[in-house]
């Protein structure tokens, strides 16, 4: 019975020792439940069919444009999982951690329904409710579907979605359709079982634990069949893939083709989050995540094939708020149970109408600026970082930014290509390191950083590092400002006032957030 041992790692790594380390791992000091989640497209109405735009325009995880305006929440009602992934350790649990696989408390379907209504009444931009774990929603079908049923009754305007590993997707497809689930995300890291065997040590299938290539084969078949079944039923499907350098990085191009051909609407390639203190197999074997430029190169390579999501924040299975922010601490079970909730559908509609107007203004501003760029010809392409609190505006102070949004500028215009977390992280239990250095390393591939305001010291250090701090567009629209800056930059390059030099690579931040 104790023969459920593990294969030796590919590099002769002692897997038993690693599994024991995982089992002993206690996270970084907090207690509670355990946790997983996952989450759009930079595309606007112009590059997708109208019926799809209607479905995604208010969904922060499916539309890059929407994520500036709309919020989502996850409810952690599904703790059980039916597979083991080498980037996940279910024992890890830290309230300060912001990544899939982590939650602070588990909820019953009834608590979850109450929480959704309480949040929606407080945050009018909350339009999407997702179940993303902390295990797999479809490994907890009774709790998952009961939650959807309750929410559909009390908050009928909220879109429902779920995120799954896909193993149990085919058997639940009719139920998903019956409960009007708008969006489904499947995490697909491979279509080749040989690759899969390096990512998934085992699956639980047909009352048995199955290991190795056979496990990956069964998983892959169910994922792809599930995707086809969703497409047949007209349910919008996003595919998440974790980019693991040396394991599936090249292979993800093939995955991209396989999921596109089966009707996936959007592909979200995320960087592996892996640090020894996470207690995952990959963390403990020293498997690294990709650099910012490695990730971008792979996303760019797949982009010709289909829409790529670049704004995923790899959030917790109990996250609440706009992507990139987390207000879950305001909505703990204790607090919700005490809340007087007045679910006002009309005021939610009014808020959403106001957002619609803001969006139109933003697009008009961008188009005006684009007209000024017309006729310019140049091969120059640069990245710029933007400090923003949302709404598509440059409205955050440099020193307060927890993340920067990254835009690529060329004569064809501006394109959102990602974001960089720069909040302070604990490094294996040690305190914060040099904060400004951290920020510079995170945006080191950028030529400029747009801020609402910036102090004198960081300004000088940024200039020394070759990154131009730009505060002249404070509180203006991001894309309009970026295009305007880029036009001036091109002129300076042309006149010889500045010489265009390519930037280096940047770091993707790892590790746990430091508690406030």
């Amino acid at each position: 019975m104790e023969s459920l041992t593990h294969q030796a790692g590919a590099d002769g790594v002692d897997m038993d020792a690693i599994m024991q380390q995982m089992a002993e791992h206690k996270g970084c000091g907090t207690s509670g439940g355990s946790g997983k989640s996952s989450c759009g497209s930079s595309a606007g109405p112009s590059d997708m069919p109208a019926e799809i735009w209607e479905k995604v325009k208010n969904h922060p995880c499916y539309s890059e444009e929407a994520h500036h305006h709309f919020a989502r929440m996850h409810v952690a009602v599904a703790p059980a999982c039916n597979i083991q992934c080498n980037y996940c350790n279910r024992k890890y649990d830290c309230a300060n951690e912001s990544r899939p696989g982590v939650v602070s408390e588990r909820l019953t379907p009834e608590q979850a329904a109450k929480k959704v209504v309480a949040v929606a009444a407080t945050i009018p931009q909350m339009t999407v409710l997702g179940i993303a774990g902390p295990g797999d929603p479809l490994a907890n079908p009774a709790k998952t579907f009961k939650t959807f049923e309750l929410i559909a009754k009390t908050a009928p305007d909220i879109k429902l979605c779920l995120s799954t590993n896909g193993l149990a997707l085919p058997e639940h497809i009719d139920t998903i359709s019956k409960y009007n689930i708008d969006h489904v995300t499947i995490t697909i890291n491979m279509v080749d079982p040989e690759v899969g065997a390096k990512i998934y040590p085992w699956i639980f299938w047909d009352h048995k634990r199955i290991e190795g290539v056979e496990a990956a084969r069964i998983l892959s078949e169910n994922q792809l069949r599930g995707l086809e079944m969703l497409t047949e039923r007209g349910i919008l499907c996003k595919v998440n893939s974790v980019m693991i350098p040396g394991v599936n990085d090249q292979h993800l191009v093939e995955v991209n083709k396989a999921v596109k051909s089966r009707g996936a609407f959007l592909h979200n390639i995320m960087p592996l989050i892996s640090a020894p203190e996470h207690g995952t197999v990959f963390g403990l074997t020293g498997q690294r995540g990709p650099t910012a430029q490695e990730l971008k190169a792979l996303q760019d390579a797949c982009e010709g094939e289909m829409n790529m999501m670049r704004h995923c924040r790899q959030c917790r299975a109990d996250a609440v708020g706009l992507l990139g922010e987390d207000r879950s601490a305001e909505f703990t079970t204790d607090k919700i149970m005490d809340m007087e909730v007045n679910y006002d559908l009309e005021s939610r509609k009014a808020y959403q109408a106001a957002v619609e107007q803001e969006r139109v203004a933003k697009v008009e501003a961008k188009n005006e600026e684009m007209a000024a760029l017309a006729g310019e010809e140049s091969d120059v392409k640069v990245l710029v970082a933007v400090a923003t609190k949302g709404n598509g505006l440059i409205n955050e102070h440099f020193g307060h930014a927890k993340e920067f949004q990254i835009y690529e500028l060329s004569t064809s215009g501006s394109k959102f290509v990602g974001h960089r977390r720069v909040d302070m992280y604990c490094q294996g239990g040690f305190g914060e390191e040099d904060t400004l250095g951290t920020v510079i390393r995170a945006i080191n591939d950028c030529h400029a950083v747009f801020v609402a305001k910036i102090g004198g010291c960081p300004k000088n250090d940024l200039i020394k590092a070759g990154i131009e701090p730009v505060d002249e567009f404070a509180h203006e629209f991001i894309e309009k400002s970026a295009i305007s800056w880029f036009k001036a930059y091109l002129e300076k390059v042309k006149s010889g006032e500045v010489s265009h030099v390519a930037r280096g690579d940047a770091e993707i931040r790892q590790g746990a957030l430091i508690a406030e």
Partner: protein, 72 residues
């Protein structure tokens, strides 16, 4: 013998509760416990103990040697 759950290892994910053919597993004090009177080690139901096979943390569902071996 019956199986038992090592409380310090249990993540309370509840996966075992749903898989147990004897309804022997329930939540108690934040983690899950196996009722040794109901546990049949899955003999007669499945080839392997379901709690062991589904548990995400190794060496968490283990044989409790203080009980005699289950006889089908």
């Amino acid at each position: 013998m019956a199986y038992k759950i090592v409380a310090s290892q249990c993540t309370s994910c509840s996966a075992c509760e749903a898989e147990c053919p004897n309804m022997a597993i329930s939540e108690k004090g934040g983690t899950f416990v196996i009722d040794p009177a109901k546990c049949t080690e899955c003999i007669g139901h499945f080839d392997t103990a379901q709690c062991v096979a589904v548990c995400p943390v190794d060496k968490t569902c283990i044989i409790d040697p203080s009980y005699p071996r289950y006889q089908a």
